[in-house]
Symmetry: C2
Subunit: 403 residues, 2 copies
């Protein structure tokens, strides 16, 4: 059950002029569920993306990265099979899917970006996907973000979509996005798949810069289990048929909206993390640099011991100190460290705060959302990551995933 | 339930002349269980140790490291409280325990090494420990390794002890050791606590070298959950009242015995890992260097997704490829990689082996012990680590640890 994450209200998802979405049931892993998504973009749309850093990155990731060099006109996404760890054959299969979609839409195959998510190391059922394309194409329309969010789910329990309107000097722009992911979630890229689109006119160069900076503050700040996926992809689309970005102020407003939508989606992945019952913000502050803050934040956010304590609402907070201690910061002076749970000062100057009362921490941890804040007190850098707890259901979901 | 780890047969544990052990029930965390251990060493015994690299290392670790500079005559170990994350007050409390034991035994406090294991960040109940010392001292005897193994357990379900005799040119030497640990287990040091003793004469300098090399091939090669403890300590004792090490051949034989006992104990920790149902050997071979082999081995051994698949006996082996891919080896050529599960060739040249049949992998994974072997095929380095699976019981044990 996701933490404070109701399904999106379809009406709240504003269509993005110049971006059509079509969904089909192709029976990729099992029949009777939406598992195929096609996006068709207006001519001249700008597309930028960031991809997983996993060396075993999937065939569609290799291909999408390559095709991004061309004027992109369509994206095709399947769930149920990741087409990763599949070698050259996997690459050929991903290309077949692009070929087939390109023929239908009268584009070139290299104008199509493929995306896959699901089980690793099993052959992509190209025939089923190709057979499903006509239905997805027949379904293409601009007000279909809700269906699209459903069609990319794997172990997600809630579809994830978010939409904002932002008023620029020349008129209103729309920013709408979807994402999926619940397990194998760890930054660098982070989400399995995220797609955010605007109708505003944004140059390809600007979009390329923006996608990186947005990813770093959204999808690259989350972790469910520390497993970096083979298929992570986050794509930013500017259809360019909407309002123009005329000023620096316009640019900031639009980028803020893109940032908000993306961060919301990234957090939604954590709220719906496999087996999650808690949504936890981990902030590490007053560090010497970003790198040490991130190391410590992720040591906490990845520790199975810390995460099972979150699950139990057990303020066994020494486990957090232990994680801080093994984060690999060699010259860390533990005597300076303070630790807060929400507003409760648990550790002061590296030891238990004498006036700390465990019932205060317990009260904070019993809430579905709380914050762990570590003050290193040795500099000005800070970082924030979002994570969830580790429950029986995480084990259950992942022990039974393929069955 | 531990994996293929019966409790030690008390008779199989050879006394080490010059090392006496005494056990008591001090009621440190709860009454009615052995939780205090004292070791008294013969005059002239050599002691060497390696300790946790956790920056939040516990007060007793700081103190033991300091006291090691002196001729050590006694060790005192309590379970039920780690005395970590306790700041200066924790240090003072550890020193009080040394003081008290030294008075009883007529040694100096700085000749006593203290060790603690248990909950982090709670004040050490010095009074209870001090009150328990006379009973532990009254119990001191050489044939008490079995009781000692019990007295250091926390979430362990089986006491861990191992003993060997080795024939040197001048006569027989004994090597006997105990260890504890089941959670918060990750190398660098690795076990919470390990003590191995021999009666052979080994110089302090040689012992210091040996403890490091042995740790690197035993306790530093295991992981349950990737959490490096605040209290890890591995101590090697040579009472020196036994046989002399006369030749290089003698030295090798003795060191081999120490190595075997230590590796057995390290593996015992994994067999008794929290919630463990599988004992898994992860070997990474033909790498360019040790560092990259270890990175990959631990990426596999720490992945919650891989470990839950082990638990389910589910050959969802793409998860292993994903872990190899995100291990942080930047120039890794995935096209060279082969993956074996026991003798089953699952992945060949970076993709699914065409003749791989899943039922073969399934048969291997259903066994309580199996091996994952990754061939990088780009060098001559290799490494082996031992780990266990990730089960419902891991979550249960750690969600309920303090209650």
């Amino acid at each position: 059950m996701a933490v404070n994450l109701p399904p999106p209200e379809p009406k709240s998802l504003h269509p993005v002029p110049g971006v059509e979405l079509g969904v089909a049931m192709a029976g990729i892993k099992k029949p009777g569920r939406k598992d195929l998504l096609v996006l068709r973009l207006a001519p001249g749309a700008a597309v930028a993306g960031v991809f997983t850093s996993n060396r075993f990155c999937a065939a569609p990731v290799l291909l999408a990265r390559k095709h991004l060099a061309n004027p992109v006109r369509a994206l095709v996404v399947n769930t149920g099979n990741a087409n990763a760890g599949t070698g050259k054959d996997g690459f050929a299969r991903a290309l077949s899917v692009c070929d087939s979609l390109a023929k239908h839409l009268k584009f070139k195959p290299q104008q199509v970006l493929p995306f896959s998510t699901g089980v690793i190391m099993e052959p992509l059922p190209v025939e089923r996907i190709v057979a499903g394309l006509p239905a997805a194409i027949a379904d293409l329309r601009e007000d279909n973000w809700s269906g699209a969010a459903e069609a990319i789910m794997t172990t997600d329990t809630v579809p994830k979509a978010r939409s904002l309107k932002v008023r620029l000097s020349g008129g209103e722009a729309v920013v709408t996005g979807i994402a999926k992911g619940a397990g194998m979630i760890h930054p660098d890229m982070a989400t399995m798949l995220g797609f955010v689109a605007t109708d505003a006119k944004v140059s390809p160069a600007r979009l390329k810069k923006l996608v990186k900076s947005v990813a770093d503050k959204s999808f690259n700040c989350i972790t469910v289990d520390g497993d970096t996926s083979t298929n992570d992809s986050f794509m930013l689309i500017a259809s360019g048929i909407g309002v123009e970005v005329k000023s620096e102020k316009d640019r900031k407003k639009l980028e803020q909206a893109v940032h908000e939508v993306s961060q919301w989606l990234a957090q939604a992945i954590i709220r719906d993390g496999e087996g999650a019952t808690k949504f936890v913000t981990v902030a590490v502050e007053r560090g010497r640099n970003q790198a040490e803050c991130r190391k410590i934040a992720y040591a906490i956010a990845h520790s199975p011991l810390v995460k099972t304590a979150f699950f139990a609402s057990d303020p066994n907070l020494g486990r957090i100190l232990a994680a801080v201690g093994y984060a690999g910061i060699k010259n860390l002076d533990t005597g300076r460290i303070d630790l807060f749970l929400d507003d409760v000062l648990v550790v002061k100057s590296g030891g238990r705060n004498p006036s700390y009362v465990e019932s205060d921490a317990l009260a904070a941890m019993k809430k579905p959302e709380f914050m762990v804040r570590v003050m290193l007190n040795r500099g000005k850098a800070s970082t924030t990551v979002w994570t969830c707890d580790f429950s029986y259901d995480y084990v259950k979901i992942n022990a039974e995933y393929r069955t």
